[in-house]
Amino acid sequence: MSVATASEVFDVIVVGAGPAGSTAALLCARAGLKVLLLERGEYPGAKNVSGAAFYGSAILNELIPNWWEQAPVERYICRRDIAFMSSTTSVALDFHCAAEGYTTPPYNGFIVLRPRFDRWLAAQAEAAGAFLLTSAVVDDVLRENGRVVGVRVRREQGEIRGKVVIACDGVNSFLAKKVGLQREFHAHELSLGVKEVLGLDPAIIEDRFRLSGDEGIAYEYLGAITEDVHGGAFLYTNRDSLSLGVIGQVSSLVERRKRPYELLERFKAHPAVAPLVRGAKLREYSAHLIPESGWTMKPTLYTDGMLVAGDAAGFCLAAGLYLEGMNYAMQSGLAAAETAIDACRRERYSARALSGYRKHLKQRNVSTDFRAYRHAPAFVNSARLQNLYPEVVASGMEQLFRVDGSAKRKILPLARQLMRQYQLKPGELLRDGYQVVRAYLW
């Protein structure tokens, strides 16, 4: 269809067909609204990069029962492995869970590849009745009397009117900035992820990672893997490839003058990682930003005629134990859709009419989670947690297990020696202990 017929007015215009946008469009279309979903890529997912360990299965299952039977998923996650690294050693926490809902429907998590998954998800929104227009860059919103009344697409007759605009345009969040809902970001608030997909025979993957059938594993790494850059790394098993990447805080990449792709090479060469990737062949290299600072990056979430959701609203939980953005993108996309549906029913689109977004975000556990974890990002990005403690743990284990004829050390004297060696002060340890508790326990 020719969507850009200038006279047409849409109920809802969604900008960006990532997980936030496609989910929002799907729900609005199901409610009978006239929905336009705009995406600048050649197809949805063409511009998008994640690990991707997708933990939104239960959410998506509400919308599309047994979605994994038809969607392009790689493997379901039956194991997670969190490793603390020094340059020579790795100490890992291996989480293998066969509890209900992990290895049975709806499955706790799936590994997916974004160009395929996003394309499928946008097609579901289309099937529900939304109009998808790809290769369409939105440059600005249309405003009348200070109200947002549509968007300007970069093309002939690109002014398209809509009653509610939902900005799901991702981490750079240009629309929210244009409207004044978001400020410019600082380099310490964002991390750069560089990723490779490495082809590997499924039989080798299953052997090497002790998986059977559709099982998959997600590895996360902290510590010396990024040298002195604040960040981490990941490795996920796809069906016939591995997804692997390094994440580094932009400000610390600058300070340390580190090139991200060199960190990626170092990661693959680490003695704990090299055997896992042996014989794999590079299929695609990619890069993307991650909003790391959660709550403190939250924009004003709505204004007259417009809502912001997903990464564009900073709803990405990136804090050590977690790198979850896709699920929160969907949850906030749903909350925005619910708000837009209410607004269209009542035919009121002012900021006041859209203020129900807060309630919907709370009901969908988005704002509650981000408020709860508001202290985690800053702490995780502290040098001691990023680099020092993983190194201390790894080096401590190395000394604990070393058998070279010298007297065996008990743990307490070893701990004292490590504190001396790494110049750790009891006060600092206590403070950091408190920070862990505050960030993760309550």
């Binding site: 050649e42 197809y43 511009k47 998008n48 990069v49 981490v171 750079n172 240009f174 997804s243 890069a287």
Partner: protein, 95 residues
């Protein structure tokens, strides 16, 4: 091959190059007032080449459109940044 050079990495990425650049670097500003050259290190596509005179040589054609240079550069006006026209630029197939 598991270990790859940056050139080998870039050869795996598909770009549909637009006729006009979506990022423009004002090398005069780099030359006049930048001492850190952050862009040179952070750009995952390695598109910023430092020149002897302190300026920057930049080519937009193999850009991931990630926004990192724009965030890292602290000189007002040095980088003019936007997205390429719809359908142009990077197209990921696997990531």
């Amino acid at each position: 091959m598991v270990m790859t050079t940056h050139e080998e990495k870039m050869r795996t990425v598909r770009f549909r190059v637009a006729a006009t650049p979506h990022i423009v670097v004002n090398s005069d500003i780099c030359r006049a007032s930048c001492s850190i050259h952050a862009c040179v290190y952070v750009c995952p596509a390695n598109l910023f080449v430092p020149l002897d005179d302190g300026g920057i040589l930049f080519n937009y054609e193999q850009c991931f459109e990630c926004g990192t240079c724009y965030i890292a550069c602290n000189q007002e006006g040095a980088i003019r940044w936007s997205y390429p026209d719809g359908g142009y630029g990077v197209t990921f197939r696997e990531s």
